[in-house]
Assembly symmetry: C2
Homo-oligomer: 635 residues x 2
Amino acid sequence: MATTEHASTIDLEAVAELAAQLRVDSIRSSTSAGSGHPTSSMSAADLLAVLVTRHLHYDWDEPRLAVNDHLIFSKGHASPLLYSVFKAVGVVCEDELLNGYRRFGQRLEGHPTPILPWVDVATGSLGQGLPDGVGVALAGKYLDRLPYRVWVLCGDSELAEGSIWEAFDKASYYGLSNLIVMADINRLGQRGQTDVGWDLEKYQRRMEGFGARVLTVDGHDVAAIDQAMTDAAEGAAEQPTVILAKTIKGKGFSEVENKDGWHGKPFPPEMADRAIAELGGVRNLVLRGPVPSPAEPGPVPGKPSTLAPEPAKPSTAAPEYAVGEKVATRKAYGDALVALGARDDRVVVLDGEVSNSTFADEFTAAFPERYFEMFIAEQQLVAAATGLAVRGYLPFASTFAAFFTRAYDFIRMGAISGVDLRLAGSHAGVEIGADGPSQMALEDLAMMRAVHGSTVLYPSDGTSTAALVDVMANTPGISYLRTTRGSYPGRYPAGEKFPVGGSKLPRSSAADQVTLIGAGVTLHEALQAADILQGEGIAARVIDLYSIKPIDTETLTAAAEATGGRIVVAEDHHPEGGLGSAVADALLAAGQQNVQLTHLAVREMPGSGTGEELLAWAGIDADHIAAAARKLVGG
Amino acid sequence: MATTEHASTIDLEAVAELAAQLRVDSIRSSTSAGSGHPTSSMSAADLLAVLVTRHLHYDWDEPRLAVNDHLIFSKGHASPLLYSVFKAVGVVCEDELLNGYRRFGQRLEGHPTPILPWVDVATGSLGQGLPDGVGVALAGKYLDRLPYRVWVLCGDSELAEGSIWEAFDKASYYGLSNLIVMADINRLGQRGQTDVGWDLEKYQRRMEGFGARVLTVDGHDVAAIDQAMTDAAEGAAEQPTVILAKTIKGKGFSEVENKDGWHGKPFPPEMADRAIAELGGVRNLVLRGPVPSPAEPGPVPGKPSTLAPEPAKPSTAAPEYAVGEKVATRKAYGDALVALGARDDRVVVLDGEVSNSTFADEFTAAFPERYFEMFIAEQQLVAAATGLAVRGYLPFASTFAAFFTRAYDFIRMGAISGVDLRLAGSHAGVEIGADGPSQMALEDLAMMRAVHGSTVLYPSDGTSTAALVDVMANTPGISYLRTTRGSYPGRYPAGEKFPVGGSKLPRSSAADQVTLIGAGVTLHEALQAADILQGEGIAARVIDLYSIKPIDTETLTAAAEATGGRIVVAEDHHPEGGLGSAVADALLAAGQQNVQLTHLAVREMPGSGTGEELLAWAGIDADHIAAAARKLVGG
């Protein structure tokens, strides 16, 4: 290995040498793996060579340093380039690059993930790295108040994703001059030319229209790139900067330069040899750029539409609701957020322009500097939460539960990023009534249960909601709280505990003949059904399955044993993947025999109506639960 | 009721009267329902009054007429305005408007759905009507080749959705001069000002940057609107037009005009009376605008990047694969699409810039005029398919299965729209190997099963894939085909039938002691496991569960009965909501007792590796299936 050169000594000639090395190493790593994207790496090699030697302020030995700049590869398929950079700064060795890339059990995965300490977020689903970067930049400007910059490498194909424009919109709205996008416009997508091709002026109009400053450069002119990065890093204007770089896919190897048909294909070994020869051979430069200076947090900048000065700090005491008091769980969510926010400065809240419906607006009023309005852009909502989580904050993001379907890819990728996200979806199910099916979440439990490592919670009253909001603050991974539109009577006294993976038995006796399982609104229906059944001499056990994932298998199997296997599950959700499936999965996984499960769910397409009418229509109200139980007991 | 006036006689004075009527009726209907969005309707009333009287070419008595213009309320919450228009043209009576709106069992739902014959697509999840309209306009220009126009009413809050910009991008790329967007810029969202407010120049820069022609008007000046619509309808340029209208939320009622806090709130009755009085009272005008002229389809316009002239029509015969022949199911998907396309001119194909991975490119080569490249924009991919389905085409949309998560809200809304969409997701599960988790669909089965009325198919070989593609052509609702990256040996002879809701028993005998259930890649693993077990003297039944929804309960229960309830399910998917859940749900719903189900699924976060390594790591390969079966039989 060569000796390490230091920032001040790295001239543009050395940078050009490094760019050649990055290309060579991108070729070597992908050819050795037999898969990967060398040509997409080669187009951006000059951008990265200039960045890491002269502009990225980063202490490679302390990747968690708060003052470090951030580097996000939104075009995650250019992982050979990123890993070649890691070799060039001396944190990954040649052996790992050549024998670890894309191999089983290794950390240099096909697309970058935060298994690597220098990677903030998993990328590879295009159009996500930039929205994530907006979240990091929000943290930098408004919360950390540190001068670090967020550098995001975007490909041109991903500029067709709407999420990119949600990101630009928010970046300019929030004046994120600390966000610098390197747009690698190499013209070619996976199967041919992108829809905009090399029409850089078109991109420029779009980006400027969305509020960015655009610096157009020849993406292979290291001096021009260097100047643009110097200009970008100054970040004078209250707006993000784009370094719009015209590049050539496969740059440096004449056989593939600007040629279609070479996306995502490693070069065969002989071809790789020719490419490496054309690029001047293998190099082993180790070069590090500037490290950040220690910095004190700056003043809090004013946000657009800043609310009145922060009011007196609200009480840190959790809200309390009396048993029998009617409260909507969405309202309790807002109440609990305020108390949690008062206790923990790391709590931040985001919403998709419906905070007066989700009751996130209570937090907005109490802590305006820790609230980020994402407007109607649910992808950016989840991505911003992801970026804030990267910086150690505890984000709670809310919208209508139905509209989290808009962000499912971002939630899925959040799990791969290993971030802790807290999502709260209001207005679940047909219970919402008049607004009709477009606003009714009926797939959200299935969607959220299927996320790796997720926690899915569905409280029925104010006390349980408030307790679960506190629990979410300390829950790793993606946690999801499903709240209800209407107000229902409190069932639990203040102070009752609701651990993840638990359940409650608001009604049980040794004489129980049937088990009724509900959560959220159907818990109230199940309890009414138990009253009806009691009037008929049938004793029913009721389980409040507030924790759908993980699930309380022990209570479920005990109830099955105690009630002759007779179980009715009622849920305000489609029949697939929700409460009923969770119960079925758990009972069978536990080896429970002789189960007779009647599963009540929303099986037809709802329309408008009152909540009561629709619960009855769907067959998930007290009368239907009682009838199902009666049939099981009588049968 | 007043008499019907005809198009030629409707002057702008009458139009203004109609606008007042639309406002009054929007107020009356929402006040009567006790919910709804009067103020969001009032801002757009002038736009709609001018449109329906003088520019929309629509035969209200024949809503399915091919030459009719299309009207899509992308801001679906302005349903009071839409329904008031329906009253004004005489297709909905006053009684229905006042007593049916948002009521149980009625068709005037809170947000429009195609239960109404004049509604193309369900809206209410913002940012979807315009992308859907792009699909309708694609059909009009390239397939129907009819001169109808697609008029889309957008709100300003929804312009923050990235999907809107995906739509503009595609509308300009495809030169959709038949698409006219009416952008109702009333400044106020649900909880305050939108992020752009009344900065119409900012919107104009964005829209022009994305290739639209923008005509800015005062949205309450009927003469200016009329002129803009005349200009728009000429559609001279090969680009979409936006009528960018500065409007006032609540326009016409001074108490609420341009005031925050009135989103989605009906006026209390006394307030409604004051509003109606200020607007000049109740009117009952019935006015109809122009009807379309009969038209012959025009010539086929050239698409951007049009491929070589259409080749000789390919064979209509379904592809055939020999038993034992290795073929990837994604390849069979492409093969089968070509044959299906040759047999049925209504078949159209769309892809998200990965057609050389999904093998949709085979169709592109054969039928370039029926292929629509959507680039990396999965929301627009599904929305365009929706719009094409509205016009009677049979769309097949493909991308990596993982990336359909990006479009989940559109898929969900497609089900509410009642359209028949055929989605094909390739590269399912850890089987894909080196690319890593961002590219691995591990939630898609859960996501697709939870969609109302969906059909979920997962073939294991070429023959079953080809058969299921044909089945999908005639399957109503949302159907989903999950395909696999790698090539596996054919298991079924050509000509074998694969009905929806069926399954196959590639291996069974009266002596079976255990049932192994797989689909896709795990079917091959299950069959290998059965071989291993046979060597040990254990007879195993194997079920190919190619139809996951609907599911073949009869075969499942028969197998459970025959094998002492011993069942192993293996799936390349997270444990929640996929194959195992489908089996558990079905067995319990059927009342099957004594089930001992071992469920093998992907329970940890995968990395890179070979497909074989990852199947083994996840515990879903032949060895793990055999071990699980052995344990059940021995236990």
